[in-house]
Symmetry: C2
Subunit: 230 residues, 2 copies
Amino acid sequence: MTARRRNPARQPPRTAGQRADLSRVQVLEEARRIAERDGIDGVTMRRLATALGVMPNALYTYFPSKVAILDAILDDTLAAFETGDLTAGRWQDGLANLMRASRRILLAHPHLVPLFLSRPGGPNALRLGEATLQLLERGGVRGRKAVEACRALLVYTMGFVAIEVPRATDPESAERSERTIAAIESLPEERFSATRALAPHLARHPGDRDFETGLHWLLEGIAGTADRRR
Amino acid sequence: MTARRRNPARQPPRTAGQRADLSRVQVLEEARRIAERDGIDGVTMRRLATALGVMPNALYTYFPSKVAILDAILDDTLAAFETGDLTAGRWQDGLANLMRASRRILLAHPHLVPLFLSRPGGPNALRLGEATLQLLERGGVRGRKAVEACRALLVYTMGFVAIEVPRATDPESAERSERTIAAIESLPEERFSATRALAPHLARHPGDRDFETGLHWLLEGIAGTADRRR
DNA sequence: ACCTGAACACCGTTCAAGT
DNA sequence: ACCTGAACACCGTTCAAGT
């Protein structure tokens, strides 16, 4: 939203009383830029402060801790999520669309995956949950079963991306596939016959088609449990 | 395996040339003890060294890096996994047993979950994969579909535990449930009707029954795709 | 080969002091 | 309220030196 005006050369070493004229959104913007470039572990208070041209402890004026900054980044990312247009049509298709969109967002911001898994949902995560629950209700899945279905879908989606990301972002993914095949072929035939037979498939990185297959299995199982009346 | 003989008081500050008489297994044992007590982030080279009564850099004699130590811990844990007795009976039951056992191991060592998700499988992870693939073959799921099913099951299991762990290990889980309910009830009714209606279910932490429900949905979906001929 | 001593280049956070 | 300066209590890893 805000323009890219920051001071790339941080010449002005302010003296004690002078303000740097920062804001929460500016801190967050810079944090996201660093995360995009160097991964989430690259976001340190000291680097963030340097990039903003202040001392590290100046950040504590805007955020009480580092995790508060990470949490804010997380919920910010989900704010871009438009649930309305995804829930049209058959309820199963709506659910598949929601999960596809979630995966896409996470793949675009791979560094957020560990945060997603460990932190409870912020306001925007609740919005995604509401859309999921409403679709399930339309499909006749209610009450406790609806919550279980909601969790199963999210767990599958998050888990898939968590497995997918380290492989997808690896710059030497081609070489890694070859090493995987070599490793499998060195296994003893009698104890690893199935693994050896499927080596080419196992070496392939999981992708769109694998995600879809598993997602549909799960949706079929959920549809099978749905309440038939109506 | 090895007895608990370590020197709790690390009085003897060795001089340059003297050996501390360590070994890879001793380093690993101590690392696991710390991980069990303080979480995986508590395992630092410096604390590990202090616990073993050596200087931090002495550890580099046994392991080339910290991640090498963590990887070794990870595969060690899976070594305790006995796949043989779990695969008897119907193939669907065998798969459910394998996933239950995996979840149980991960729940017993919650600090390993992030490692599991990010790292590719070591030798013992391959053993688990082989057992899964053989059961799928017995169920008529072969080729690419078998690999996809294997991944979907693992993704679901890992993802579930990843979501489950931070909630299960939280000492103030009861208070957190109440805060969740309060947060949900403060949402506007018109935009969050489904979420509000299911507040008590949503506040409950995911557990055994939720895991089973989702697992069976997935297995039913997989069974539906199976090759029927024999 | 195995270990110490010292250093390098980092962390998050707190506290007192300035305007 | 907002920022600096200085400090505290940490990190992983490397390098030269000793036996």
